[in-house]
Symmetry: C2
Subunit: 325 residues, 2 copies
C-alpha cells in the first residue's frame, strides 16, 4: 500500500508520520531536532535514520512511499528543493531535496510548516469545507498559512503568507525579523510572556504574580489563569493581548476575506474563550458592509498533527499537479 512520509521540522522537535492515501495518520514518531547543536547535515542524517526506522518498525519499505512531504520553519522552496533560511536552525541555502534523494527515490516536496498546518486545518480540521482560509499559529513566533481556492497560497517566490511580519505599530516592538511592531511581536506566546512579565514587575503583589510564582515560571497560560481567578492585573494583560489579536485578525480579514480564520498554536489551547475575547472587536473592525457574509473565527482542531497531515496533503497536491522533482 502506498503511503506518505510526512515530516514536520520544528525548532525543538521533528515529528514524523506515515500517512495513508486517505490522509489518516497511521503512525507517528518524534525526536529532538538538536541534542548537541547538530549542524544541518547531522539533523538531516537523524531525520533519515528515524524515518527509515519508523518505516521498518511498521513493516513498510522505502518502495511503499508515494511521496515525502516536509514542512520546515522559515523559507523552503519547493521548486528548487533548497531550504533557504530558518531563524533558529542552522539551515542556510541547504539542498534538502538533493540530500534526501540520496536515500529515498520517491518525489520529495517541501515548504513552510505554517502553510502546511494551515492546509491541514483548512481541509481536515477547523476549516473543513473552506475554499479560502487563514490559519494563525500563536506559538514561539506567529506563523500564518493561507489557503486560496483550496490550495496553499505561496506567492510568486514561494515565500508568501508571512502575516506575522506585517507591521501593526510603526516603530513598535523590535521583531526577530528585523522590523519593528510586527503582528507577531504582540500576539506570539513569546509576546504574551513578555507582556505578563512586565505586568508582574509592575504589580508584584497581584494574583498574577502569585499565579506565576505557584506555576514556577511565566508561560502563555499564566495571565489567562490569573484572569480566570478575577485578577485585575491578569485581566488587563489578557484584554490587551486580545485587543492586539483582534486588530491583527481584522487586518487578515480585510486583506483576504477568508471563509474562516483559524487560530492554532500553543495559545489556542485556551480554547473558545480566546475567540470570545477577540471576535466582536475583530468583526467590528473589519471592512464588512450590508449583507456581505462575515468570516468565521475558530480554534484549530488538529493540534500538533496539523504539520504532518499538511505535509502529506501538500505532497499529494503536488503529485496531482504533476510536479515531479
Amino acid at each position: 500500500m502506498a503511503i506518505f512520509l510526512a515530516v514536520d521540522v520544528g525548532g525543538s522537535s521533528i515529528k514524523l508520520g506515515l500517512v495513508s492515501e486517505n490522509f489518516e495518520l497511521l503512525v507517528e514518531d518524534s525526536f529532538r531536532t538538536q541534542d548537541n547543536q547538530e549542524n544541518s547535515d547531522q539533523i538531516v542524517e537523524n531525520l533519515t535514520k528515524h524515518s527509515l526506522d519508523l518505516l521498518s518498525k511498521h513493516d513498510y519499505r522505502k518502495e511503499d512511499l508515494k511521496a515525502i512531504g516536509i514542512g520546515v520553519p522559515g523559507t523552503a522552496i519547493n521548486r528548487t528543493g533548497i531550504y533557504e533560511f530558518a531563524g533558529n536552525l542552522p539551515f542556510r541555502r541547504y539542498p534538502l531535496r538533493k540530500k534526501l534523494t540520496e536515500i529515498f527515490n520517491c518525489p520529495i516536496y517541501l515548504g513552510n510548516d505554517a502553510n502546511f498546518a494551515g492546509l491541514a486545518e483548512s481541509r481536515l480540521g477547523a476549516g473543513q469545507g473552506a475554499e479560502n482560509s487563514v490559519t494563525l499559529t500563536l506559538g514561539t513566533g506567529m506563523g500564518a498559512g493561507v489557503v486560496i481556492n483550496d490550495r496553499v497560497y505561496l506567492g510568486f517566490n514561494e515565500a508568501a503568507s508571512e502575516f506575522g511580519h506585517t507591521v501593526m505599530e510603526i516603530d513598535g516592538i523590535p521583531c526577530t525579523c528585523g522590523r519593528n511592531g510586527c503582528f507577531e511581536s504582540y500576539v506570539s506566546a513569546t509576546a504574551l510572556i513578555r507582556q505578563t512579565k512586565e505586568a508582574i514587575a509592575e504589580n508584584p503583589d497581584s494574583i498574577l504574580a502569585i499565579t506565576a510564582n505557584a506555576e514556577g515560571k511565566v508561560s502563555g497560560r499564566t495571565s489567562f489563569n490569573a484572569w480566570r481567578n478575577d485578577c485585575p492585573v491578569g485581566t488587563k494583560v489578557v484584554k490587551t493581548y486580545a485587543k492586539y489579536l483582534a486588530i491583527g485578525i481584522a487586518n487578515v480579514i480585510n486583506s483576504y476575506m477568508p471563509d474562516v480564520v483559524i487560530i492554532g498554536g500553543g495559545i489556542s489551547n485556551e480554547g473558545q474563550c480566546l475567540v470570545d475575547l477577540c471576535e466582536d472587536e475583530a468583526i467590528k473592525q473589519s471592512f464588512l458592509h450590508g449583507e456581505v457574509a462575515i468570516p468565521k473565527i475558530v480554534i484549530a482542531t488538529l493540534g500538533n498533527k496539523a504539520g504532518t497531515l499538511g505535509a502529506a496533503l501538500f505532497a499529494d497536491d503536488c503529485l496531482k499537479d504533476g510536479l515531479i522533482y
Copy 2:
C-alpha cells in the same frame, strides 16, 4: 462587432468606455457623478442615458454589447448584483444589476473599482506577465487590487483586498472606515495633504509654505515640489510619507509575495522618484531570505483608463467562467 461597455464609477466622475474584444479602449466619455446631490436611482439613470448616447454616437446598438462591466467604489457583489455600500455615494444595498437589466439585456458584471484597476494594470499595464500582483491606488483614499493566478482575488464574500484598511499603527490616526491607524490614513493623497498642512502650520516661513501659497492650495504635489526645491521641511514630509509607504508595501509583500507591487492613483504621477524613495526600505523590511526572488515595485502605466479596461477584462473573465447573471 461585439464590444464591452465598461463603466468606472468614481466619487466625482463616472467614466464610460467602449472596449473591443481585444481590450482596446475604442471610445470613452465621462460625466459628473452628482451635479445636484442626485440619489442612487438618478445616478443610474444618468449612467444609462450617457451609455446609450455613447453607443448611438458611435453607431453601436445595445445588441452589440457582449457584456457590461461596472467598477464602483466600496462593496459591490457580483454574485448578487447588489451594490452594498459606498462611502461617499448614496448607494446602500442597491440592486444595480436589476436596474440596468431593465435597459440592457446583456450580461452585467460588477465589482470594486480598485480590484478592476489592479486587474488592468496586471494584464495590460505595469504588471504585464505577472501571475500575482497587488496594485495600490494612492488617491483620495487608498484602494488595493489583488490579482492571484491572473484573476481578481475576491475572497469568499467578494469583499477582499481592502489592504488600505489594515492597521499599521495601533490607536493611530482615525480612518474613514472606523478603525484607527489604517495604511490609508498615512499614504492616501488626503493623508499627504494633511501631513503637508501640519508641516506648513509648524513652519510658516518654509519653502514648503511658500510653495503652497504660490500653488494657491495644498495638494498631494506640494510637498514633492518643495522637496525638489531642496526645502528641508518639504523633504521631511516626503521622507516620512515614503517611510509609511515602505512599511505598507513591505506588509503587502510579506502577505502576498506578488511578482509585482504596482503604485497607482494621483500620487503615482510623481513617477519613478516615488519608487526610488521607498523601494530599498520596503525590500529591506520584507521577509526575503537567500535566493528568494524579490518582488518588483513599479508605477502604474494605464492612468485613468485602468478602471474601464479592468471592468471589461473582468466582464470577459466572467463570461469565460460561464457566469451568466
